[in-house]
Symmetry: none
Subunit: 236 residues, 4 copies
DNA sequence: GATGAATGAGAATTCATTCAT
DNA sequence: AATGAATGAATTCTCATTCAT
């Protein structure tokens, strides 16, 4: 967990033990405020990017700037918390899927693909502008970036494992797994809204992505179209 | 072209008449200066993101702030010009490819795919941090976004036309074309450094993308993997 | 009141209820601050004209620039507020006089004249350099100019009414009233320090102005000195 | 004459001896440029006050900034030159009138008044905003202010002389003369356009001013309306 | 002399952060 | 803890003035 913000992390998953553990009202109020602030920050960053001011965010969150600074040491901490919040959610989703795979190994490549596409779609269906902002700042948040990388690697590793099991003859399975996850995640973050939203709803974005992924995982690599020297293939 | 900055656009394609085309020294000096400033801006934004100041940029460009403001009305205009410069380059590349396709229609889907992948890779092989910054600000530059969309649509339309010609039986060719371009462009802009850089260089990014694209264009859509009701395919 | 600056107008007349009227300390502090800033601005503009900087003004007012900008959106707003403050004061004085006239109509032209001269002198006895600055900028503040015009018109109308009552045979009473107010106001704002200060103090400026006004209101218009064609009267 | 600007004063009257004195074309071109620049400056200052920039003025004058600085050392010099130009004109008019008075002494107070009103009206019928700007800056131009004072004093002295001759019994003739000139000049510079322009044209502004002046010069000073202690005359 | 692009000191304005209440 | 007015360093931007051509 990147950094602990007062009065308690508030980001990141926390297993709830059912018996004991009644939170004091004070803690709950704080937790609430942190949530408000992060929601405000999300809205403001989504709307104005880094131009959004801490005062805007406090106003949007319905708290005073002073309160904001009570919980977050500076503006960047807000961004970091937002990123961690997102990663918490994504990690939870991913872990849930991967442990399911461990218990019930998927039986077809199609099932794997469908799961991965679903995971990535669901893990990224919110706040696109914020994601882009964060990624444009990734160099300022090495810890967050590292976490994102780890998460992605974990998914990639499991994906590769199952691919190898189901398609032992597939070439470059590790690279294909990595590639696939990258492609799917990138597409979902796309600046120019993905096809789906611009062409009417008939075949779903997910359908296309699954078709694409499945086809990719079935196709040989290398060059059925042999690589020309000239930059343009049709130049022959 | 969105906005013309003094002393003359300096971005966007410009037909070069080979015989007489001696630009006046004044024009050349200005053009040069605009170029320096944009290079400085690129370096600074690439390094510091929006944090980079106009004074930094001027210094980096080797001119005075005053000169910078002579050519660009404000800091945002720099970003917009950078985006337009990038789009100029991309448009030129795309037009070049598309007119080639019109003269020598590609003969195989593989050739089409290879061309499109090549185009998108080459059009985006520079200044990744800057691209991410720009795309995180896209909402501030509606004209630029519109231009990008148009360019992408143009490529999509041509791609679809040729696909239909070569694979008359392919279902949803328009959507596939759109999908493909979105996927490729997003992947290339990706947040998380593309696979290639993290997996060693052996099979090229382009190889993977071409394989992916080709496979996608050969595969049937719809659900060979029938859609389950439950969120996770492997849950069956 | 042209524009309301936070946290409350602070210029313009305000009815004071004598009993309960405890303003909250917050309001009082803000009001105080606005007053300080305007005083600082007056001093600085009086000393340096438009050359005076907002930083100077803040320093002179004993607040930070940030605070200055908290209350006034820009440098111009300071000037406008100063002008409005002056008009507030003048309006209050004028209204006070005019309502007194309504209750106790003046019994002689001399009394009227004396009142008007007194009003105009007292309404303009502060910050001459500032007044000149403001009037040199009047075209930038159409609202203020309009307000000044209205105020002047109001005085002129009342003056004319009472003149007509006391001197029913006076020709052109409306024009005379307008003329008189213009002449008095201009003289008091005068560029070149008024006579008084350069000729020793014996007969007061006000004495001269009253004599001038009274004489004017007693004299026939038209041409006892018949208008010559030639530009100079003594040219005959 | 305050300061000599290159390439030759260009302000201030210059008697033209008809015989000799053919100016070189170079000198004439310079003279022309200075004139253009001053006209541009007048227009710009009239429109924008001190906000007007030297670049604006050069553009308005149809010359380059460089040329402007060839003839005027800095922005203030423009204002000073403008003021001197105005004073040149006014001085010429005044001298012409006064020498006429010396040769043909005026025979009536009415003639004196008519002459003085005419002089002041004609000497100030241009560029009111510029005059106000200059007067708001008078402290920066002690020489100009001194010149203006001298000119005014000269008129006042002659006026007083002739008044004493024609009305030996008039009290405070010197003060009356000074007062009159101040009042007339101020009125003509008035921010809020003088009556004339707002009430339709029937009795002329000059008629009113002459009536006012004549009446003033005929009236006894002191208090036909005895001065009350209370601030308002009608308060009795 | 003339030009106008270039300069950069300095003015206006912003906004992350603090702190008295 | 909460507040939000106050702060002022940092930034954006202007424009009088210079100087290479």
């Amino acid at each position: 967990m990147s950094k602990a913000y007062l009065p308690s992390p508030a980001t990141r998953t926390r297993v709830r033990r059912p018996g004991r553990s009644r939170r004091s009202p004070v803690q709950d109020r704080s937790r609430q405020k942190v949530a408000w602030i992060l929601e405000g920050a999300t809205r403001v960053f989504e709307r104005d990017g880094l131009r959004g001011t801490t005062n805007d965010i406090a106003k949007e969150a319905g708290v005073s700037v002073g309160t904001l600074y009570e919980y977050f040491p500076d503006k960047f901490a807000l961004l970091e918390a937002l990123a961690n919040q997102h990663l918490d959610r994504a990690t939870e989703m991913a872990n849930s899927l991967l442990s399911r795979w461990n218990q019930n190994p998927p039986r077809t490549t199609g099932a794997i693909v469908s799961d991965v596409v679903g995971l990535i779609l669901r893990a990224n269906d919110d706040h696109p502008a914020c994601h882009r902002l964060l990624s444009s700042l990734s160099s300022s948040f090495p810890e967050v970036t590292q976490r994102a990388r780890s998460l992605q690697d974990s998914v990639v590793r499991h994906l590769a494992t199952h691919l190898k099991r189901l398609q032992p003859s597939l070439d470059s399975p590790d690279q294909r797994a990595a590639m696939l996850v990258t492609v799917l995640a990138s597409t979902v973050h796309s600046t120019i809204p993905p096809v789906e939203l611009r062409c009417g709803p008939s075949p779903r974005l997910s359908t296309h992505l699954e078709a694409l992924a499945s086809a990719y995982l079935a196709a040989p690599l290398g060059s059925p179209t042999p690589k020309p020297r000239t930059p343009l293939a049709s130049d022959r």
